[in-house]
């Protein structure tokens, strides 16, 4: 009964993935070569990786820190219960949302004739586009990516914050610890594996994204997935294996993330209720 499953996974997952990996090491006229991979370390290919890693790193960092703060604000004692359930419900929906509609929502908001852009200019005299801001840039992509990074962080970290037991805080304060000391010696060390794991998840999430950046900039920002798409669609025809080599590079980065993620995941399960 498991044969159809393994046959399917082989045909439509392993075979295409294997084809890309092998293609990355094929020369223009056949035969094996490292030249495609070596090319990745040179201009302009290495620049795509730098931009992609920067965008993923920054949105994962801001997403993780701000997501943690928002989730903690909603969960901590004293915040009404309904805020917490509204936030997790909304995050469950928003984390699953992205791509073309998300890109356009931000164009309607912060594009050159967007509602907020016009409001800032006409009502407050702040001319965003006159001051070198544009949504169709690396900064723009980062602002938009946070829209799915933040809710993902909130969803992933909320169970870990729940795991910080009230008794620990009470025990710490009975022993004379200040709130700062509680966070330094108890709270953060317990949460750290979850935070690092979530950071990696967010990083991979942004690194693999294609549709949102495509919808926003039609390929004007030099991100790896957009470049792979452009090379494959034939904007550069002199080396058919270039797209495969760039895809291989992407695979290596994501696989490295996974190697760190799995043990962190195990560690963070230790304190879960």
């Amino acid at each position: 009964m498991t044969i159809p499953f393994f046959a399917y996974i082989f045909l439509f997952l392993f075979l295409p993935a294997g084809n890309v990996m092998a293609g990355a090491f094929n020369g223009k006229k056949g035969g094996w070569t490292f030249s495609n991979i070596q090319l990745l370390f040179h201009h302009p290919y290495i620049d795509s990786y730098k931009t992609s890693i920067e965008v993923s790193g920054i949105t994962a960092l801001i997403g993780a820190l701000a997501g943690l703060a928002i989730a903690y604000a909603a969960i901590r004692d004293g915040t009404p219960r309904w805020i917490r359930s509204a936030l997790t419900t909304f995050s469950g929906v928003a984390a699953n949302f992205g791509g073309i509609p998300l890109a356009f929502a931000f164009i309607a908001t912060l594009g050159s004739i967007g509602i907020v852009t016009k409001f800032l200019k006409n009502q407050l005299g702040i001319d965003l586009y006159g001051n070198n801001f544009t949504l169709f840039s690396k900064t723009g992509v980062e602002i938009v990516y946070l829209y799915f990074q933040l809710p993902l962080m909130i969803l992933v970290i909320a169970p870990a914050i729940d795991g910080l037991r009230r008794e620990w805080r009470e025990a710490a304060s009975n022993l004379g610890a200040t709130p700062l000391q509680f966070w330094r010696y108890v709270g953060l060390p317990v949460l750290m594996p979850s935070i690092l794991g979530a950071f990696i998840l967010l990083f991979g999430n942004a690194f693999a994204a294609y549709a949102t950046a495509y919808g926003l900039t039609s390929g004007a920002v030099n991100l790896v997935p957009l470049q792979i798409g452009a090379y494959y669609s034939g904007n550069v025809l002199d080396n058919p294996h270039l797209a495969q080599a760039m895809a291989f590079g992407m695979f290596v980065v994501l696989a490295a993330m996974m190697v760190f993620y799995i043990p962190l995941q195990r560690r963070s399960a230790r304190w879960a209720k």
Binding site: T2, T109, L150, L201, P225
Partner: protein, 264 residues
């Protein structure tokens, strides 16, 4: 409630709500004058033949993907829970592979491998796209169904059914499936949301699905694009909200945590 908690919650709410509100206001502006307020953008969408055509294609693709996924994964996961528990970690490991091989890598591999395959497969969204979408849905379908099977007693149900003389087929259809119905439903809504939003694979293999229509309108018609964006929000959010309701009934919500990456 502490002041800092207020500040964070207000900043978060503003960041999430302003783009939605702005898109709504933008959709009410007139295509000719750029001034408020008209519902012309919404009537433009409703009367657009391509809107209905591509939406129908994407919904049918989602339906086909759901049927094929369930047909492959339900018997497999059932069998693994019943007879081959050692295979479970292997399949769970496979379910992580799509995170390392994102859609952009998958699509260039699929296009290379299946170039020259029969036209009914390669040139048809019902063949090529669905084949890829089942893989995109695989991790979510697997983790959802796996949680469903873990919450029932597969061995007792199977023995009871067979000692009453039921065949394997009857056991699966009449005993097992009704018991994992909510897990299967959750997997189906997730798959629906994934397929309705999937852009990368459809764009590179040039099949005109709903997200490609969205992108086309974004590039050509600014104000109707805002109306269309809100309508497609409503579709995805409807699918996800249904999922949350099912999840709440079942009391588990881990299955959709990492989200429909196909859309991004």
């Amino acid at each position: 409630m502490a002041l800092s908690a207020y500040v964070w919650l207000i900043v978060g709410a503003a960041y999430f709500l302003i783009p939605l509100l702005a898109t709504f206001l933008f959709s009410l502006d007139s295509n000719q004058t750029g001034k408020c307020c008209t519902i012309a953008s919404y009537t433009w969408v409703i009367h657009n033949g391509d809107f209905w055509h591509t939406l129908k294609i994407s919904l049918l693709l989602a339906l086909e993907t759901i049927v094929i996924s369930l047909a492959i994964f339900v018997p497999t996961i059932y069998w693994v829970h019943l007879k081959l528990p050692r295979l479970r970690p292997v399949i769970a490991f496979f379910a992580l592979i799509p995170f390392v091989v994102p859609p952009i890598i998958m699509v260039i591999g699929l296009l290379k491998v299946y170039k020259g395959s029969p036209q009914w497969f390669y040139a048809q969204p019902w063949g090529f796209l669905v084949a890829a979408y089942v893989i995109l849905a695989f991790p979510y379908t697997f983790f959802s169904l796996d949680a469903g099977f873990r919450s029932i007693d597969v061995h007792t149900l199977t023995e009871a059914s067979q000692s009453l003389g039921a065949s394997w087929g009857t056991t699966l259809l009449k005993v097992i499936i009704p018991n994992i119905r909510s897990a299967a439903l959750a997997a189906s809504f997730l798959t629906l949301a994934i397929v309705l939003g999937e852009f990368t694979i459809a764009n590179l293999s040039a099949f005109h699905t709903f997200p490609l229509f969205l992108q086309y309108v974004n590039e050509t018609q600014a104000y109707p694009a805002a109306a269309l964006t809100l309508m497609s929000f409503a579709l995805t959010w409807g699918a996800m909200a249904s999922l949350l309701l099912i999840g709440r009934k079942r009391g588990d919500r881990a299955s959709f945590v990492t989200g429909a990456r196909g859309a991004r």
